[in-house]
Point group: C2
Chain length 210, copies 2
DNA sequence: ATATTTGTCCTAATGTTATTAGGAAAAATA
DNA sequence: TATTTTTCCTAATAACATTAGGACAAATAT
């Protein structure tokens, strides 16, 4: 009844090989232009064998970002742990996220460029996790209101929209331009402008530290 | 040599019929799931006849937003004509753009959800026109700096990124949520936050009127 | 008016690609 | 050693984009 480890490992290993091949090809050539034959060749398998691991091309497309985003979600907790103040948390969030994108551009490309067009996107686990990732921001803005860092009449959801919209825009352009420059260029200036939008007018900046 | 009007008209009419059919089906079912047979049936033609009008499915996909965006570009000049001050222009830009999206949601859906995934997108006329559309914002921010409305050290390109990112985010979510609410909900609050990011600190708000 | 060219459309291929059938070989288990 | 399960393959099948080749009619030329 107990499964043999080596078998398990090799099965898992093959699965990972397929995922990596698909990731590479999707992000290089796009989803449509990548064929199942391409992917299976790259992974060293026949087409049919691939169907033992994935239900089909679409399933494969959805699996890739699923892994990435759920990993991000788990990491975020760790990253924000111990950071004091809403503005500091926001800053960490932005730098952390762009770093993760920089480190996994293939995953990011699939999420940003190919996923939204998929009719099932809204029903996927990825979408749910992306929402959770963004929901953190709402908590941060609410915290900022409580401690006086942020405007008292700030709508946290709208603040989130502005923050996420800007972040997504930066990432999307970087991906479309083939990652030909640093994501962190001018990021300080961008962040300062965003904070100016959210910050309380007469912010006694040390208030929340007491 | 001179062409008959009725013939010309019927040719043009058929072309438009095909475009409208494709627009409807692409935005309802997505690009991938829409077949050439679907489109040609909807337009009352055979598949082969469609190829007299368009080079193929991809050409059809690119033609639709091309028409829309170039129309937008032309309209924008008119809309901003006579509006005084950078903040007022920004406001008009935002309201105008979202209105146009509201009025042509099928075109918007194609631009926002299906176009970016296309490998040729960066080389299309649509992309060039979208860039021009967004470049207007840079002019507006520069004007705002000259007349003291905007922060003197504002980087106009970054301000544009924030503005466009927020706008695109609002539109994208609205499209993904099947246009089930008004694009203008909370728009005032959103706009005020954005302006707070860009505005000069001690803005003597009437300066630029002199 | 008749012949010829051009424009519009069709049915029937063709070729690519995702997916499935059916079974062989190997590995695990009894 | 026999049997079941896993993993993989070759060879269909089916959906679809695109093309061939020609019919028919409208426009134009003679």
């Amino acid at each position: 009844m107990a499964k043999n480890n080596s078998k398990n490992n090799s099965k898992e290993h093959t699965r990972i090989r397929i995922i990596n091949s698909a990731k590479k090809l999707f992000s290089e050539q796009g989803y449509q232009k990548t064929t199942i034959v391409d992917i299976s060749k790259q992974a060293g398998l026949s087409e049919a064998a691939l169907y033992e691991y994935f239900q089909g091309k679409e399933d494969l497309l959805l699996t890739i970002p699923d892994l990435w985003v759920s990993e991000l979600l788990h990491d975020l907790d760790e990253q924000l742990f111990g950071i004091q103040g809403a503005v500091n948390k926001l800053r960490k969030y932005l730098w952390w996220y762009l770093r993760r994108v920089e480190q996994a551009p293939l995953d990011a490309k699939i999420v940003y460029l190919f996923l939204k067009t998929n009719a099932n996107f809204l029903n996927t686990e990825v979408y749910a996790n992306v929402k959770r990732l963004y929901a953190y921001l709402i908590d941060i803005f609410e915290e900022g209101q409580k401690n006086g860092e942020m405007k008292p009449d700030l709508n946290p959801r709208i603040a989130r929209d502005i923050f996420v919209g800007t972040m997504d825009h930066i990432v999307t352009r970087w991906l479309l331009k083939d990652m030909s420059y640093s994501l962190f260029d001018n990021l300080d200036h961008t962040f300062n402008l965003l904070v100016a939008a959210f910050k309380a007018e007469q912010s006694n900046s040390a208030d929340y530290l007491n």
